[in-house]
Point group: C2
Chain length 205, copies 2
């Protein structure tokens, strides 16, 4: 299976399917259909069948999908059948909220380091770990072999932080700063900016 | 101009252009080209020209775009040439972080009400406003005429909250709860779930 051959738009839907399947499993369900899964995620049954069939034949005609089996497959495809350590840079309100967020662990992620360059924050404790000096970031991230990072710093410093993260070996960056990050080929960035999402909706009001 | 005729994928890129233009303006720039704007947002110049031309002829051959003019046009198209009052439901870590977020005001948004159903939180002050009892949410949002809301409550209560918001007249919901919300025709929902974004990237690791 060649990663480059599957369109990223399909990859982007797999975590949504996995999340919905997890909720079904939490409710004690063992099997589902593409129709039922589709109703839960607002995507057509045909699209779901087409997306999933890119990776193999995971469902059975008539009986549908085994939820635990499909979850295992999706976790393996998305490589969240393991835990990814995360470095977070920027210990402001958003950084604190994410550091304490309970929703990462059972989805494959674990924040293990938080950095900031504000002397009044360095040394402060958040839920069991200590905010570290951003000056030592590159070395610490590199020696820990961390590949995934989150930026929750102001827009003015986000690009510089991204450059350092990449220098440290990070390959995937979730960026909360309201700025588009420019990164070299082979580095993935996802952006979260609530104002962007809100403006996309006010158009229709 | 018929809103239904412009694909939502194009609408989704306009706030990204607006954000980049704002940063250019902040740096004192007055004009830009589709090439330069594209370099700033990671989108091709041709795509940008095509997207913007959906709404009229805003650039000039040879001289490019006037940044203040294009910003005014985009703000008007996205209806953020005015302020939208926002109701936020769920005063946990994320709710607190968003309540204090400084990046909404100059992009058309203003959180004016925060609700929670936890008696230990009701009455608590966040930056000048007071957390209100979620029991009175529908009436308060309706009388204030609020059309935009954010949900930062747990997944288990998010759908019920969304139903109430819609009952109160809300048309646009930014949902931070890790669950897909089912809403009637005419209601817009955008979802923010960091684990979804992270899983989309680990696929490539």
């Amino acid at each position: 299976m060649n990663a480059d051959k599957i369109p990223d738009i399909i990859i982007g839907r797999l975590p949504v399917y996995l999340r919905a399947l997890q909720r079904m499993a939490d409710r004690g369900m063992r099997t589902t259909s593409s129709q039922e899964l589709g109703d839960n995620v607002g995507i057509s049954a045909a699209q779901i069948r087409k997306d999933i069939s890119q990776f193999g034949e995971f469902g059975k005609q008539g009986t549908g999908y085994s939820i635990p089996f499909l979850m295992d497959k999706l976790r393996s495809i998305l490589k969240v059948d393991r835990m990814w350590d995360i470095a977070l840079v920027g210990a402001g309100d958003m950084g604190h909220a994410l550091s304490r967020y309970q929703g990462f662990r059972d989805r494959g992620f674990h924040i293990v380091m938080v950095f900031d360059n504000d002397p009044t924050k360095i040394g402060e404790k958040i839920d069991g770990f200590v905010i570290e000096d951003a000056a030592g970031m590159v070395e610490k991230i590199r020696s820990a072999g961390i590949k995934v990072a989150m930026i929750t710093a102001p827009a003015s410093s986000a690009q510089e932080i991204a450059d350092k993260l990449i220098q440290a070996g990070v390959k995937s960056i979730l960026n909360y700063a309201p700025i588009h990050l420019v990164v070299p080929e082979g580095i993935r960035v996802q952006h979260i900016d609530p104002a962007i999402h809100l403006q996309r909706m006010t158009y229709y009001l």
